[in-house]
Each structure stands twice: as C-alpha cells, then as structure tokens.
C-alpha cells in the first residue's frame, strides 16, 4: 500500500477473521461457568460491536469443528439487521454437517478440533482481501479456542503461523479452555498478536472488547498483552524432556538429548550416505504420495 492510499483509507478499518471453536466434546465437558449459549451471545455481541465501530469493518467467522471447518459468517454478505440470525443459522447447519462426518460415536477425552484447517482457510481468505488492491481493511485473526491442541496438526499449524508472519498479520488468541495452548502461544508470539486466557469467563465480552477489539492502528500506541512467548528450548524426541543442548538429525531435524547411532524418526544411520531411490520408482511414488 502506498502511503497515499493508506492516508485515504481510515487507519482503523479492520477485517477480523474469528475462528470459533465448535468442538462438541469440549463444550459439553467444560465446566468453566461458560455454557455454549452464553459463549455465543458474548461472541455475537462482540462481532456486532466490531461492526459498530466502523461501517467499513468486516467480520468473517470460521467454525473450527472436530471433523471439518467451514465459513459460517461473512458480514460483507449478510444484511446488517439479521446478523445474529444468519450466523446462528449457518452455525447450526455446520454442526449438523460436522456430526454426519464424525466416524466413531464415542471418544475418550476431548478430541482436538482442526485449528490448522480453520487457520489455513482464514489465511486464504485474508490473502484474497490483500490481493483486492491497495485499498483494503487491516486484516487480523482471532482464535477463540478451548479444546486441546492436536499433535498431528503441529506442522500444519506452524506453517500457517509462519505464513501469517510473512504477510505480517497478527494472530490474536483467546483461550477459553482449561489449559493453555502451546499452538496459540507460539502463534501470537511469532506474529506479534495478543495472547490471553481469561480467568473470569462470564466476563468474556469484557475481555474481548478491551483487548481484542483494538484495531492494529491503535495497537501501535497502546499496551496490550503481547505474549511473552513460550520458552524456546525444545525437548528431545526420546524422553520428551526439555533440553538446553541437543543433537539434531541433519536429515529430519528431530531432536535427541544424547548421540545415537540411528535416527529413530527417519531411520537414517548417522555418518554414512543414504539408501538411494532411483528416479524411476520415485516417479511412481510422486502421484500417490
């Protein structure tokens, strides 16, 4: 954006993409004094207030389900006087769809919801807005997340985080679950977003309106809960214990606390060249991999 166009476009016009955790297992088990209905009303109120602040503000809602993710609200499409209705309508449809997709009918513990998916979608959407020309709202992402992180998603989530960092859009995270989320900690820290875990969930709206409603422009001269960041020491694959110094496999970058003969992750034996894949059977691999 050229300085000119920024001047013309008011500084605080913002596009807020909200990732709403709709993990049934989480909501049905969480006894944090915030039933889902309450949560929703806080949420809707928050969205309304964002749209109230500036009539150019745009809000997009993405539901983060257990089996799928989906867009459930886009203020640029919905009529201003029927916001709550449209959102809830879509949300209900989404939940039904998500249930159909669920394979097993009972699980132990809380399954993690597909944060990586909704993050990716949000990023795609924002990219589209950024593409739309020099005049566009300042985008940011807000994760309302409660369910535990899914180990399987780690790589994907990290990728999304770095991509967000590259295009300089902050990922705010508001953790409504019982315990902190390592994902969101990193996300917020790396992208310079706000990370907060409300103590008093019945006051959720206040948190949202005080912390997360602040537009990027104002953040430059306001103190907010910039996440201090996780301790960046890794922990080894072998004992999962945090280490100061470790040994990294040069092939797969897996971390060990003491030298090994053979990498347990990628199976490469250290100190000698790798088994070969002749290009031919590699070609056969390419499509189905």
């Amino acid at each position: 954006m050229t300085p000119v166009s920024r001047k013309l476009y008011t500084d605080d016009v913002s596009l807020l993409v909200v990732l709403i955790d709709t993990n049934p297992y989480f909501w049905s088990t969480n006894n944090s004094g915030l039933p889902y209905s309450k949560f929703l009303s806080h949420l809707v109120a928050f969205l309304n207030s964002i749209l109230l602040l500036n009539q150019l503000n745009q809000v997009v809602g993405i539901a983060t389900g257990v089996n799928s993710c989906g867009y459930i609200y886009d203020s640029s499409l919905a009529p201003p006087n029927k916001r709550a209705e449209t959102l809830l309508q879509k949300l209900e449809e989404f939940v039904i769809k998500d249930e159909e997709l669920s394979a097993e009918d009972s699980v132990d513990g809380i399954k993690s919801s597909l944060l990586s998916g909704s993050l990716s979608m949000a990023l795609c959407y924002i990219q589209r807005v950024l593409r739309s020309g020099s005049l566009h709202p300042q985008p940011r992402i807000l994760c309302l997340h409660g369910s535990p992180d899914g180990p399987g998603q780690y790589v994907a989530v990290m990728n999304s985080i770095f991509s967000a960092q590259r295009s300089m859009l902050p990922i705010d995270s508001c953790v409504i679950g019982a315990q902190h989320s390592a994902f969101l900690q990193q996300a917020s820290h790396i992208t310079g977003g706000i990370y907060s875990k409300p103590q008093q969930l019945d006051g959720l709206f206040q948190y949202l309106s005080t912390l997360f409603a602040t537009d990027l422009h104002s953040r430059s001269f306001i103190q907010l809960h910039k996440s201090v960041g996780v301790d960046f020491r890794a922990s080894c694959f072998c004992h999962k214990s945090t280490i100061d110094m470790g040994y990294i496999c040069s092939v797969c970058l897996s971390i060990f606390c003491k030298p090994h003969k053979k990498c347990s992750t990628c199976g490469s034996t250290f100190g000698q060249p790798q088994a070969t894949v002749s290009p031919t059977n590699l070609k056969r691999k390419a499509p189905d991999s």
Binding site: E92, E99, G109, G203, V230, F237, V251, T265
Partner: protein
C-alpha cells in the same frame, strides 16, 4: 633456524627510565649474552631463552627509542635499547623464533610444556602484519600485552584466533594464478613516430609468454639463436620485423626478405611445428566428425577457408603459400592456447626460462600422446558422449535419498511438553482426562444451546456491570505490572551512565574474559598435553580476572553499585560455567586416566 646468531650493539636497561649501559648483545640459539662495553660494569647478562616467555617492543616511530623487552618467567624483564629499529627487529625476530621452540623438540613436554603443537617459524612479513594489527587496534594491543606478555597465551595461540583479520592483509589474489588473456597478441599495434619511418613494438613478458606459447617455432628459434648467435633484442627486432611484414600483407616483399635472411625466414614461414601438431590432431580428431566431408583439409594448407586476410588475392602462386598466414589459424591457435591455460609457473620476467619451460611441457605432452593408452580411452568415451542425442537421454541426475518420517507427532510433542511446563501447568487437563463422551449427546447439547439462543436471543445484559468492572480492573492491573517491568527504557545504554573509569575497566575486563573464554572453549575436547596445559593456564588467568571483577564491584561508588553488579553478574556466570565445565571434564578424564596411565585422551 635462519641465522645462527645475531650480534647487535644495544643498551641494557634495568627499567625504562634507566639511561642504560651500552654494550653488545649477542643472541645465540638457546641463550643471549650481553657484554657491557666497559668491562667494569656489572651488567653482564647470560640468559637462556627457555626462561624467556615473552617479548614486547616499542612501536616503530622516528622519535621513539627502539626498545626490546624480554620478560622472564620469574616476572623480571630485560630491556634493551638499540641504535636503530632494524637492529631491534632483527633481534626481536630472533627472539620470537628462539622462544617459540623448534617443532621437532621432543623434550618439549618435559622442561617447557606450553609448546604449541605447530609453532610456525614466523616470517618477518607475518610479524609485520601482526605488529600492524596491534598498532591500529589499541584494544587488541591491550589484550596482547595482558595475555601474551603475561604468558597466558603464546604468540601463536593468540593469533590463531585472529587468522581471519591477518589474512585480510594478504589478498587472496596471490594464491590464484591468472589465466591467459583472451585477447590476441596481434592487436599489439606498432606505434610509429611520425617523422622517421621507424615503428616501435612494445614488448611485455606477458606478450612474450603468449608468443612462445602460440608459436613454437619462434620459441625454438629463440632457444637456438639467443644468445649464441644474436642478442635478445636483435631477435625480437627480427621477429617484429617479420610481424610487420605480415601486417603490410606484402607477401612478395616478405618472400624476398625471407630469401636473404634465414633467421627472418623462420618467422615468416608457416610454423612447421604447429603444422605437424595440427596433422597429429587431425588424426585424433573426434571420430564422430565426418572428415570425408572436407577431404584432405587439415586446416593448415587450405588458404583461409575462403576468408582471406590479405588484399592481393591475385598472386596466390604456390611459391608464396609458404608465407601466407591465415587469420583463422591465428585465431584457432590462440583459442587453443587459452584453453590449455597457463601451465608453466616460472617467473615471467626471464624470457629464456619461459621458453624452456614451454618446450619441456610440449615434450611431456607429446610423450603422453606417444603412450597412446589414455588417448584411446578418451576417444571411446568421446564417441559414447557424442553418439547419444541428449534430448533422448533419460535424466542424468543422480538418484536421490528417500525420506521416511514415521510420525509427525514427535515434532509437536517436542514443543508441547515444555511449552506447557513453562506455563506452570501439567498437561493432565487434556491428555489424562478419561471421560467417555458420546458423540451424539455432545452434538445434541451443542445444537440445543444454539437453537435455544436462537429463539431466546442474546442474554441481556451480556455481562453485569460489576463483572465487567472486575475484569477491566484485573486487566488494567496486569498491564500496569508489565509496564513496570518494561519501565526502564532498554535502548538507553547503561554503560554511559557509569563514570568513564569504571566503564573502561568493565569493558576491558569483558573483552579479556571473552578472549580467555574463546581460548578455553576452543581447546575442548582436550586431546593433547598441550591443550591440557593451555586450558589450565587459561583457567588460572580467568580465576585472576574473577577476583578483579569482585574488586570492581566493591570499588565503585554506592550509587553505581547496582548497575555494575548487574553488568558483572553475567560475566561471572560465564566464568562459572567455564569452571564448572572444567571440573566435569576433569573428573571424566581422571576416571579415564585410571586405565589410561598417561592421563590424556
């Protein structure tokens, strides 16, 4: 060692102020002797170099005195003032060599343990570079004084860490040899002064080399004629005369001249060596090339492949052919030579040696060719390479290594674990909660609450005022706390706040600590006696500094005490870390040394 001994006249001074006693300083292999000029003086010296552990010397400057200070291991030092700097330097270098004991000193470990494994004999050039560095960088000088003079590090060790900055002085050019210029010599145009009809060719070793390389005949002629039959200048005059004739393109004249002067003829004629070489080449030409296409064309006798360089096309009688030279030939020849690259590495200045070197080379080549084996080899793979049409080839790229990651989850766990730890929470929340959930119920409850809020609408008011107030004040509190933390502006440098003396002191200590630590860590893992001893020395030095730090802390004024101690703390930490590591390592090695009597890993 270069010279067995140095004898210079110098003044011996017990201290810098001392006017000094004039006398003669004699440096031998293992000792130096000072003989006062007046025999009555008691200032006789006779010291073995092995007691000398360091030497300093005054900067070279017109007004300065040429001083050399030999520090002895018992702390005392011998100062000599020389009449001139060259004298001093001579001695200094000698000392440098003398106290850095010979590499093959077997007894080294016994009486003089701190032997650098490779104590290189320092060329004066090397020395000068070091001195320069010391002069430009005062800090470096300080360090050097403190450690090298102080005998903590040897000269070699000290500089080893600074190779880079030394090497910068010598440009990497020197190592590489330049290839032949790609532009041809016949662009060496004669410069003719207007009036007299003489023309001048300027000749550089570069050009000569090129001529020799490209015109074997000339080379041969040179070797034969110079200096037996003619002087070098005559030779070249002839040569250029020939060149000139060529450039005039007057073949007839050329022929005439050649007729009466056989030396000249050499230059004018076709280069027979080349010709023969060319023929040889033809025979070995790439077999896939269809030579039938231009039958009998060995590139030498056919005039110019049609594009002729000389104007007088008409008189192409056979008798003159000899004296024609085609532009293409020159070009090809030049290209060939450039491609061969400069294979002689003799000093270009000396013409003769160049010529000989080249000839030798040629002989070697032809010898190789004679032994035809690898040529055949070359031919065959040449054929194979030519035969294949590259577009029909499969990928020539090498096979690649496969990758099989078993479980990406590992990558996550390595994070998750401590991330949660830092938040002072156990992960029990999610992982170990074994509550069996029915998917249907779960979804049901979700849908219920949605529909509920749908028809009831949002709860009004969303939050009660007091709750809001509570939350707000809570957040505000947290903010103001963090603010307090960031309170002091990180940008303003604390150092500047301190009184200069303290600042200097601290910085100096810091640098020396850095230096020592560098050496300390770099010498792990300890593999040799030498390293072992070095580490010990360094460690002792560090412990000395440790005291110094304490002193600094106590010495500063009350109001500065806090920042200073803050500053010093990390340094002490660093030192502690080093000591700790030393201890651990020491334990390990001592245990090892049980089965390893000599005690060194």
């Amino acid at each position: 060692m270069s010279e067995r001994q140095v004898i210079k006249r110098a003044k011996y001074k017990s201290s810098i102020k001392d006017p000094g006693t004039p006398g003669v300083l004699t440096m031998k292999r293992e000792r130096f002797v000072f003989m006062p000029s007046d025999p009555r003086s008691l200032m006789k010296l006779n010291v073995e170099f092995r007691f000398i552990i360091g030497h300093k010397f005054s900067k070279e400057a017109p007004n300065k005195k040429a001083l050399l200070n030999l520090t002895q291991d018992k702390g005392e030092s011998y100062i000599f003032e020389f009449d001139s700097f060259p004298d001093r330097d001579a001695c200094r270098d000698f000392v440098a060599m003398a106290i850095a004991p010979p590499a093959n000193a077997g007894k080294a470990s016994s009486d003089k343990p701190s032997v650098p494994p490779s104590s290189e004999q320092l060329s004066t050039a090397e020395m000068d570079r070091r001195i320069k560095l010391l002069q430009v960088d005062s800090e470096l000088q300080k360090l050097h004084k403190e450690f090298v003079m102080g005998g903590v590090l040897t000269e070699a060790e000290f500089w080893a860490t600074r190779k880079k900055s030394l090497d910068e002085k010598i440009s990497s050019k020197s190592k590489q040899r330049v290839g032949l210029k790609s532009d041809m010599i016949f662009n060496v145009k004669p410069s003719s002064d207007g009036q007299s009809n003489r023309v001048k060719y300027s000749l550089t070793p570069e050009i000569i080399h090129q001529i020799f390389a490209e015109k074997p005949a000339v080379r041969r002629a040179y070797l034969n004629l110079v200096p037996k039959k003619m002087t070098e200048t005559d030779f070249w005059m002839k040569y250029w005369r020939a060149e000139y004739l060529h450039s005039t393109k007057n073949i007839v004249a050329a022929a005439a001249e050649a007729a009466e002067d056989e030396e000249l003829a050499v230059f004018l004629k076709q280069d027979d060596i080349l010709a023969s070489e060319a023929r040889r080449k033809i025979r070995r030409v790439d077999p896939t090339l269809d030579m039938e296409a231009d039958e009998g064309d060995d590139y030498t006798h056919l005039p110019d492949h049609g594009l002729s360089r000389d104007v007088s096309k008409d008189l192409t009688d056979s008798q003159y052919d000899l004296y024609k030279r085609s532009f293409l030939q020159d070009l090809n020849r030049h290209a060939a030579v450039v491609l061969e690259g400069r294979s002689v590495d003799v000093e270009l200045g000396d013409t003769r040696s160049v010529a000989e070197a080249l000839t030798r080379l040629k002989e070697v080549e032809s010898a190789n060719e004679a032994s035809n084996t690898h040529v055949e080899q070359g031919r065959s793979d040449l054929i194979s390479r030519m035969a294949e049409l590259e577009d029909l080839q499969g990928p020539r790229d090498h096979p690649v290594a496969p990758l099989s990651i078993k479980d990406p989850r590992d990558y996550f766990d390595s994070q998750q674990a401590n991330a949660i730890k830092t938040l002072g929470e156990s992960q029990s929340g999610s992982k170990h909660k074994k509550s069996i959930l029915n998917a249907h119920e779960a979804y049901g409850s979700l849908r219920k609450s949605i529909s509920e809020i749908k028809d009831l609408g949002l709860t009004d008011p969303i939050i009660k005022s007091e709750v809001a107030m509570k939350v707000f004040s809570e957040l505000t509190l947290r903010i103001s706390n963090t603010k307090y933390h960031h309170g002091k502006d990180p940008h303003e440098s604390i150092l500047d706040g301190l009184p200069n003396a303290t600042k200097e002191e601290i910085l100096h200590q810091w640098t020396s600590i850095q230096e020592l630590l560098k050496h300390f860590w770099s010498s792990y893992p300890i593999t040799t006696t030498y390293l072992h001893i070095k580490v010990n020395k360094v460690k002792d030095a560090m412990s000395k500094i440790y005291q110094k730090l304490q002193e600094i802390k106590s010495s500063v004024r009350q109001d500065f005490r806090h920042p200073v101690s803050l500053l010093v703390q990390p340094m002490t930490q660093a030192l502690d870390a080093a000591f700790a590591h030393y201890e651990v390592d020491f334990q390990k090695r001592s245990t090892k040394s049980v089965e390893r009597p000599n005690g060194f890993v």
